[in-house]
Amino acid sequence: DQQVKQNSPSLSVQEGRISILNCDYTNSMFDYFLWYKKYPAEGPTFLISISSIKDKNEDGRFTVFLNKSAKHLSLHIVPSQPGDSAVYFCAASPCDYKLSFGAGTTVTVRA
């Protein structure tokens, strides 16, 4: 039962443009959301998070938006850089319980 869904397996974007990654969830008990980034041959690394009491969190070039009514969150990367080419996982947790991960979106930033 996939409670966190990333429906776009891949995304290609030109360097300098905006990357928008989407994530949908089904569990209304989720109250904390995270994005992880993964390079080949490495483990995932934490990127940014957002609590359900907020609708936006920004950290440098990365911004996460949360729409609770639509059970949807998105990650914006502006501007996209070649080093952003990686797999991005959306994850969610209910009440500090264990994380549920999406299947990931592979981002390729073209020069």
Partner: protein, 116 residues
């Protein structure tokens, strides 16, 4: 910079054989997690330790999988016997304080298991 260590990085085995994976978390991290990531899917939690105690092993196939963290530091995940469907990446993660998701989890590079 402190990292989570895992070994081996790659393991090829035949079905019905036993395999074991090792994880050494970041020093001082009380919480340790084992995840399984099947190709094309996100990581799925198999077992969570708080020090040497199991907090959650609800998704661990206990008929063939076992995990231990005897001294509350490093941990071993074992599969016996391995099945074709066990082919996956096995990720270990650790976090500093007892919690689920609110505190950052640091992941190791994983062990890629292929069962033939």
């Amino acid at each position: 910079e402190a990292e989570v260590a895992q070994s081996p990085r790659y393991k090829i085995t035949e079905k019905s054989q036993a395999v074991a994976f090792w994880c050494d978390p970041i020093s001082g991290h009380a919480t340790l997690y084992w995840y399984r990531q099947i190709l094309g899917q996100g990581p799925e939690l198999l077992v969570q330790f708080q020090d040497e105690s199991v907090v959650d092993d609800s998704q661990l196939p206990k008929d063939r999988f076992s995990a231990e963290r005897l001294k509350g530091v490093d941990s071993t995940l074992k599969i016996q016997p391995a099945e074709l469907g066990d082919s996956a990446m096995y990720l270990c993660a650790s976090s500093l304080v007892p919690s689920g998701a609110y505190n950052e989890q640091f992941f190791g590079p994983g062990t890629r298991l292929t069962v033939l």
